[in-house]
Symmetry: C2
Subunit: 331 residues, 2 copies
């Protein structure tokens, strides 16, 4: 159960109150997390996670008449999600998506990807990167980079144009752990001299600091957010950390510690005040702002990790509309 | 003492860690607050508050060579704070300021007013409204309104021009409880048909919901922020509530519940993640955004109520620079 007082309820929609009231945490999560997130438990966690999400995903595909197909780019499987109609101004645009799931769970055709295909109204290229523990850092990042490099240098199989994709036509999105993978990818792409995807970057509840630092990593660690922080830390530390080990403040591993320049893509970030990632979003906002990057931080009252993919919570609809508005300003 | 773990420290400047480490809360604040904030204790609280702030205020006046004088506008005392040089583009501008202090404490020549005179580089008209319990809601609001009405209809004694002040030349600022007074004033001014001050509104850690609702009113109630929320609630409920009583959700008493239109001034809001007012700022941001008002919300990691007037904390300097930048965009 999460803590939810009358004073907190009074500032939320009834739908959000209903959602929060129904969160059930694993008992003794802080103690049990290392066991629950050990590599041998990951297959079971994945099935549970997938089973829980499947109905909502199928409903989105059907409701928005989305077409899904899997293609291979640079040897990496990519799910292309296409809305039934695409506005002329968006025909050339794509959204390059890196899904979340604590590095160990999740799928490229999740609610985030499906919702954005429908609501932003563009083709989504959602990378089906190899998750941990099968692949540790930086495998997923490098798979994403290989796909990105191919898109901007050679083009996309199954795209409307045969040549390279203009980087000004590429939106990018990373949710939670996907944000770590994506921002690390953008930093390496920049070092390689690849052009930045400038249409707009959307970071949803980004996990950008794997060192555990941050105010919200403490205040939202238990009984506030959807998942105890100990579960997320267990997923990363036991599955994603490379065998040789890594400095948790390595700027490509925890991109909050990297240096940014004004050539980084314009960025919109969403977080909630119950979200363990609140501090990640807040700190990254200032980091980009100080670098001269156009950046919007959208904080939502009493919202949990990934709240904004909820189909009915008004706070989620409002946040999504604001994200789409930000991304469409580049048109 | 406030809670401050290594994970929280790691995301803060050393100066901020030092500040937070030195906060000493009154023991048993939740139990004692009704006694400590009863009307007969207010004179003592005021002296303590004033004595603690005096040295920092004197230093700001001296460092920035500010000129202060008290004038009377519409029968209300107003402190005019003038920086030694004023940029040509800012000669006609004024900052209309409503100070904070839980409705019962504080002074018009506080750090907020002095700092903004120096850093925004304009004349500040800081209203010396009658505090509670001597004056209850809406006396302070109506005093501010009388001053504002005089400024835009007749002009300011001691100003550079003799006629009315152009409302496009008026910045407004309200800190904490001062934000409640100021936003309520703007709403009444709008109803009266007075022109809005459109240069820009700055709300610092605004207290816009006196009903007690909000996520941060719970999470930041104890051992997180500068003052326990129970002290602030005691100040308002025992001193500021009118004798006839008031619905805490009255839109002029708790302006978070009012309706806004696109004609409301462009607004910048600062809050910290430890601030009891975080939820007030977050919710007001969406309220104004939904109304079509240009609004920026600047949330700072691990910062306390009113942090941004600190002279050395880098997070404070950064927030102030961002506020000044927002306000100067109207030039």
């Amino acid at each position: 159960m999460v803590t939810l007082t009358e004073a907190q309820k009074a500032a939320l929609s009834p739908e959000a109150v209903n959602f929060l009231s129904n969160i059930r945490h694993i008992p003794f999560a802080a103690t049990l997390s290392p066991f629950l997130t050990s590599p041998r438990r990951i297959p079971g966690l994945r099935r549970t996670f997938r089973d829980r999400a499947a109905a909502a995903e199928a409903e989105l595909v059907s409701k928005h008449r989305l077409q899904l197909r899997e293609i291979t780019i640079a040897g990496v499987p990519v799910v292309v999600i296409e809305p039934p109609t695409i506005h002329t101004a968006k025909q050339q645009k794509i959204l390059f998506n890196v899904h979340g799931g604590g590095f160990v769970l999740g799928n490229p055709d999740d609610r985030a990807a499906l919702t954005m295909a429908a609501e932003l109204g563009v083709r989504v290229y959602s990378i089906n990167y190899t998750k941990a523990p099968e692949a540790k850092f930086p495998v997923a990042r490098d798979q994403c980079l290989a796909v990105y490099r191919t898109l901007v240098c050679h083009g996309a199989p199954g795209g409307t144009s045969s040549g390279p994709i203009d980087p000004t036509d590429i939106y990018t999105m990373g949710s939670s752990s996907g944000a770590q993978v994506l921002v690390s990818m953008l930093l390496v792409a920049q070092r390689e001299g690849l052009p930045m995807p400038t249409a707009g970057l959307y970071l949803c509840a980004p996990a950008l600091d794997l060192s555990g630092a941050g105010d919200s990593m403490v205040t939202n660690a238990f009984d506030r957010d959807l998942l105890p922080v100990s579960m997320l830390i267990g997923m990363a530390s036991q599955n994603y950390v490379p065998d040789r080990g890594i400095d948790a403040r390595d700027p490509l591993y925890s991109p909050i510690y990297a240096d940014y320049t004004a050539s980084f893509p314009r960025t919109v970030i969403t977080v909630g005040t119950r979200d363990f990632a609140l501090s990640h979003g807040v700190r990254f906002f200032w980091k980009l702002r100080d670098a001269g990057v156009e950046v919007d931080l959208l904080v939502s009252e009493g919202m949990w990790h990934g709240f904004n993919w909820d189909p009915v919570v008004p706070e989620a609809l409002r946040a999504r509309a604001a994200v789409v508005k930000f991304l469409e300003r580049s048109l």
